[in-house]
């Protein structure tokens, strides 16, 4: 297996050198690959007044990647708008309970990181991340698909998909431990219940609630907490044919005394033929990593 990976890496390098990047009329880099399976390219031609084209009406579909490149949405140091780096401007408005939860989380990243073998991040057991953490965990190439009643986000990490209803249905009512839809109790969900509406022809505002409780999910990789009382508001603003701004605000009165912005992620349109390498969580591989690297690094 290791040999295969080494050979693959060599092959990719050779392919990248042999087939230089060109530009297309679509403003995303178009590469040709010897086998017809183009790999992601993160160098974009800059947009100019001549090449910047207007956004299509009410359309988010396409393959999108962070403008800042393949590391632009990783967020290992915490959510984009408030990295967990100890600076005063990034202190969060914790409630006493929220702070208690934060302290109970032993994150492998951020200002209060512990040694790898001591962390209790549910991600490292391959637990489902939940919404909104899928937005804060290694966001790379993200495909958006749309039909007349929904927008679907296809996350790269773990090949997960999430539906946002745009058919005019109402956001469910939040209950303790679930939600109410048409007078009926419905279960909490990993991806919650998301409803979106177009506030203008290029801006979709999405609200999500009914997510998992704080003993199952974190907000980010630095152990910031999130509860099932959260309402997540995302704004997808397509500013041109090639540009999309994905922002997020959370309102979680159980953990934070006021709503705050967690992310503002500029995205660029990519070649829709791009082949994504798989990026999966496997409990067995995680266990091997912990055994051979994580625990060794922690001298355990």
């Amino acid at each position: 297996m290791l040999n295969r990976l080494l050979l693959l890496t060599l092959g990719l390098l050779i392919t990248a050198l042999a087939f230089p990047v060109g530009t297309s009329a679509q403003n995303y880099p178009r590469v040709t690959s010897a086998d017809g399976w183009p790999t992601p390219v993160w160098e974009y031609p800059p947009l100019t007044p001549q090449t910047r084209k207007p956004a299509p009406r009410r359309d988010l579909s396409g393959m999108w990647g962070p403008v800042a490149g393949h590391m632009g949405g990783v967020q290992a140091g915490g959510v984009l708008s408030k990295p967990n780096n100890g600076r005063p401007e990034n202190q969060l408005p914790y409630t006493p309970y929220g702070l208690e939860q934060y302290k109970a989380h032993k994150a492998a990243e951020g200002a209060d990181a512990v040694l790898p073998a001591e962390n209790n991040d549910p991600r490292n057991n391959c637990e489902p991340l939940g919404v909104p953490r899928y937005n804060h965990y290694n966001v790379r190439l993200t495909q958006i698909f749309q039909d007349p009643v929904k927008v679907v986000i296809l996350y790269h990490y773990d090949n997960r998909w999430r539906v946002i209803w745009t058919d005019g249905r109402k956001l469910p009512k939040m209950l303790d431990g679930g939600v109410e839809i048409d007078g009926q109790y419905r279960e909490q969900r990993i991806f919650g219940y998301s409803v979106g509406r177009w506030v203008d022809d290029t801006t979709l505002v999405v609200e999500t609630l009914g997510t998992l409780p704080e003993d199952r999910v974190w907000l980010d990789s630095t152990g910031r907490p999130i509860s099932d009382q959260v309402k997540v508001t995302e704004t997808f603003r397509r500013t041109s044919l090639d540009e999309l701004e994905w922002s997020e605000t959370i309102d979680d009165p159980k953990m934070y005394t006021k709503p705050w912005e967690t992310m503002k992620l500029p995205m660029r349109l990519h070649n829709p033929s791009t082949d994504l390498m798989e990026y999966y969580c496997s409990p067995q591989e995680q266990e091997n990593y912990d055994k051979f690297f994580g625990s060794a690094a922690s001298q355990k």
Binding site: R4, F145, V152, L154, I190, Y280, Q284
Partner: protein, 286 residues
């Protein structure tokens, strides 16, 4: 005493009522439509080159659970269900210890990667508890949004060929998939390069690095697709075999809610500790 008997009777009646409710729930996902709902139906013609929509097993949500192995070839012990194993394939099969079928071991002793939430991969996803999926077409892809673990999968339809399966190829849980329309109503895809750690089905049928999986979707009419899965793995099987034979799927309303069905490692660990290990008389052995 008579009061106790009355209570017991009431309890029994309650259990019966509950089991009727449970049974009704088991045969229907809320909001779903099944063939049995339309006894005199004469479906319209199939649209041309179109699989898009939300699809649910047409005969009911349990039609493709496949607990005892691939639906067209369950591990029933019957001669007609014996697979054409090569010696190497049989060895790999015997190394797998399923928790289902005639070779079942106690679940705490099984080495099935699925319950521990390892990626199921292709084609196990469709040969194990297959339920609802949305199929979305783009100019270059056929995208599948599966219910189980909310995984998506991509089949390229832009004319590219599948990679050569050799030591240069990176193994993938989903493998590499390309597909094309064989005619206006038949879409055929082939997948190669699937990670050998995955099982084909619940009863531990293995596949090798050389396996090729064909999936065939026939748009029979306006509201049906029939799915057939064929395994071609000359290293482990002496001839190709059909694992799923024209599984009928039915089109659902486009607002149909695909519910969550998740594997959670912590929930599985709790199940192991509280039920599976005591039932097997072990503690933590696997």
């Amino acid at each position: 005493m008579s009061r106790r008997l009355a209570l017991a009777g009431l309890t029994a009646a309650g259990v019966l009522c509950l089991s009727v409710v449970a049974s009704n729930q088991a045969t229907r996902v809320p909001g779903a439509q099944y063939d049995s709902d339309f006894p005199n139906e004469k479906p319209g013609p199939a649209p041309r080159r179109d699989l898009s929509g939300i699809w649910e097993p047409a005969r009911g949500p349990g039609d493709a659970i496949q607990a005892t192995g691939a639906k067209a070839m369950p591990d029933s012990g019957r001669p007609e269900h014996q697979l054409p194993f090569t010696p190497e394939g049989l060895k790999a099969n015997l190394a797998n210890k399923p928790a289902w079928g005639p070779r079942a071991v106690a679940s705490a002793l099984s080495n099935d990667p699925q319950p521990t939430c390892e990626p199921q991969g292709w084609p196990r996803l469709i040969l194990h508890n297959y339920r609802t999926a949305q199929i979305a077409q783009t100019p270059k892809q056929m995208l599948f949004l599966y219910q189980f673990n909310r995984k998506w999968r991509n089949i390229w339809t832009d004319g590219r060929a599948n990679p050569k399966v050799d030591d240069f190829l990176e193994p993938r849980w989903w493998g590499y998939s390309v597909g094309r329309w064989q005619d206006d109503y038949t879409f055929v895809a082939e997948t190669v390069g699937m990670d050998e750690r995955t099982w084909l089905d619940n009863v531990g049928r293995p596949h090798s690095w050389e396996a090729r999986v064909e999936e065939r979707y026939v748009r029979r009419d306006a509201v049906h697709i029939d799915v057939t899965i064929t395994i071609d793995d000359p290293t482990f099987y002496s001839k190709p075999w059909v694992a799923l034979d024209k599984l009928a799927l039915r089109l659902q309303p486009d607002t149909f809610d695909i519910r969550e069905m998740e594997c959670s490692p912590s929930e599985f660990a709790r199940y192991q500790k509280e039920f599976a290990e005591p039932a097997a008389g072990v503690g933590g052995q696997r």
